[in-house]
Every structure is written in C-alpha cells, then in structure tokens.
C-alpha cells in the first residue's frame, strides 16, 4: 500500500500514546504547530491497558487550556485506530489537515512573526 497523506504532517513516534503529555502538546503549539493530534490504538486494545485512555484525557486537558488562552481547543485532537488500518490513517491525516487549514494558522506563529 502506498497511501498518500498530506506532506506537512510531522509524525513523532512514541511507544504508546500514554507517553504523550499535555506539556508535549502545548510545546508543539508554542513552537508553531497549527494542529496536533494523537493517534492511539483502539480503546480497549492498549498494550499497556490504559495508555490511549490517558492520552485522550491529556488531549482534552490541552484542548481546554488552548481554548482558554485563545488558541482554540479544536486544534488538538485524539484519534483511535488499529495498526492494520492504513487507509484510515491516511483518511484521518487528510481530515485533520483540512480541519486545520479551515482554522487557519496557529495565531502564535503570526504573533511571533509580528514581534520579530
């Protein structure tokens, strides 16, 4: 399968989405990411039992903070899929790409440019 997905998505590999912390998500935005999404295993299928569930809670926490500070909570998302779902992975990437394009660039990036 040679599936296409948007080329400006930077994939960071983690052993489990349970490794993803609020801080990682916030730092990504601070560095200029327009959107961040975590892709975990299907709920109930975590090799470490609850890594993906924790990730979801952390994404939600990041959403709430991003909303409060005016960046927009919907820029952070959580998805679940199984490792055999290549097409679904590509579909999610396209979906997220479109969502973020509609939202426009991360305001932090613009503010930084202005400040410089």
């Amino acid at each position: 399968m040679r599936l296409q997905y948007p080329s400006d998505i930077n994939i960071i590999l983690v052993p489990c989405t349970g490794k993803v912390d609020v801080l990682h998500i916030l730092h990504a935005f601070e560095k200029g990411a327009d959107g961040v999404y975590a892709v975990g295993c299907m709920e109930g299928d975590c090799h470490y039992n609850s890594g993906n569930l924790r990730a979801r809670k952390r994404v939600e926490q990041a959403q709430s903070i991003l909303e409060t500070i005016g960046i927009g909570g919907e820029r952070a998302q959580m998805y679940n899929l199984s490792s055999s779902e290549g097409p679904r992975f590509a579909q999610i990437a396209a979906e997220m790409d479109e969502k973020i394009r509609n939202l426009g660039p991360n305001p932090i990036k613009l503010a930084k440019k202005k400040a410089a």
Partner: protein, 222 residues
C-alpha cells in the same frame, strides 16, 4: 501531605497581566505529589501563559524554576541571585510557600497559582481526601484512629448526628459518616464499649481559634 488544586488559568492571567517578567515557581514536595504545583504543572502553566501573552501581542518573559521546597529558607535562598530579573512571581506552592516567598522577598509581588485545600491522602491517582485539620490536640487515640474533627461535617466529638444514613453523611451520600467509620473501627478493635465515654468539651485554643500557632522547640534550636 498538603493537598492543593490548580487555579483556573484565567484567574492567574487576571492577576498577573500587568507584569512583564514573571517567574513561575514550583515546589517539589506535596503539591508535586498531588499534581498541582510541581515541575510539570509549572511547565504547563508557563507554556500556556507564554502563548497567551504572545497571542496578545505582548512580549512577556516567563521562566520556570521548581524548588525542592518553598517552606524552608535554604531552598528559597536558591533564587536570591536571579529574583531581580523578574517583576512578579507566581508560586505554585501551597499557601505556606507563597507566604514564605512574600516574606523573604519583601518587594516582589507574589501570586498564588494553586488553591490550597487540606491535609490529606492520595486515595487513588486523581483522588485526594482530607484527613486532618491540625487542631493541635490529637484525639485519634479515643476515636479508633478516625478523626471526627476533619471528617465529620459538624466536627461532632460525640456522634453520629441524626443525619447519618447507611454509612453516609447527611450533606452528601459520597461522603462517609465519620462516626460510622469510628464505630466500625471500634468494633474491629473490640472496643465498642468505649463509644459510651463522653468526649469532653474540647480546648480549641490550639486550633484556629487561638490565633496563629507556633511550635517552638528549644532542644533543637541553634
């Protein structure tokens, strides 16, 4: 430990918005354990605030330091050399640390980053509950090791009140009736007869009622 909870970011923003060089100061003790004011929470708050101010078009310096403790001179002294770089500190320590910071750095504005809640335990991750109100005259020997001062909504020393229902407190079914717990425990210790001893009127002068308290130990003073 001292249990604290995070303050809403908007509340912190409202307090510090006039400042330009802000130190977010964490504490590595109790508030780290209850996930309210440790290194990680400092990082999250600082990152959020940096983005907030940038987005407002403001160039605000926001640095992160987490001390071992904020309730001892030695540790608070560690920021002596850098404190002049800031015009405000947000302390994520408990109310004790915030105040000690304010005492030590007399001209530096200090803002609390957490709400200090109580003395309690980690029942499970994400659930902390109260166990002690530091009344200064421990009565746990008489109550089977369960404290009616901190765990009964009416601080009743000779309970339970008429509102105890199926082990729950009248104010909330989620809260255990302290006196039910005491009675269960006395039973487990085969000491239920002790229940009938009337607990005398308490000397509250060692509690909040007596004003600010101190423990002074000449034997360990230098």
């Amino acid at each position: 430990m001292i249990v604290a909870d995070r303050k809403p970011i908007e509340e912190i923003i409202a307090e510090i918005k006039e400042h330009e060089k802000i130190l977010i100061l964490g504490c590595n003790e109790c508030v780290t354990v209850c996930e309210a004011g440790g290194k990680k929470e400092v990082g999250v708050l600082a990152s959020a605030l940096r983005m907030y101010f940038l987005n407002q078009g403001r160039d605000v310096k926001l640095d992160e330091i987490t001390l071992e403790r904020q309730c001892d001179h030695e540790y608070l002294e560690e920021i002596r050399d850098v404190i002049d770089q800031y015009d405000a500190v947000v302390s994520l320590a408990c109310g004790v640390g915030v105040q000690f910071m304010a005492e030590k750095y007399h001209t530096m504005p200090v803002y609390p980053g957490v709400n200090t809640c109580f003395l309690g335990v980690t029942e499970k991750r994400g659930l902390w509950t109260e166990r002690c109100q530091a009344c200064g005259q421990c009565i746990l020997a008489r109550t089977g090791g369960i404290c009616p001062v901190s765990r009964c909504a009416k601080r009743i020393l000779n309970g339970p009140c008429g509102g105890s229902t199926q082990g729950s407190c009248e104010i909330n079914k989620e809260i255990s009736c302290a006196w039910q717990l005491i009675i269960d425990r006395l039973k487990a210790l085969d000491r239920l007869d002790d229940y009938e001893q009337i607990d005398p009127i308490k000397d509250w002068s060692t509690d909040r009622a007596g004003g600010p308290r101190k423990v002074e130990r000449e034997d360990v003073q230098q």
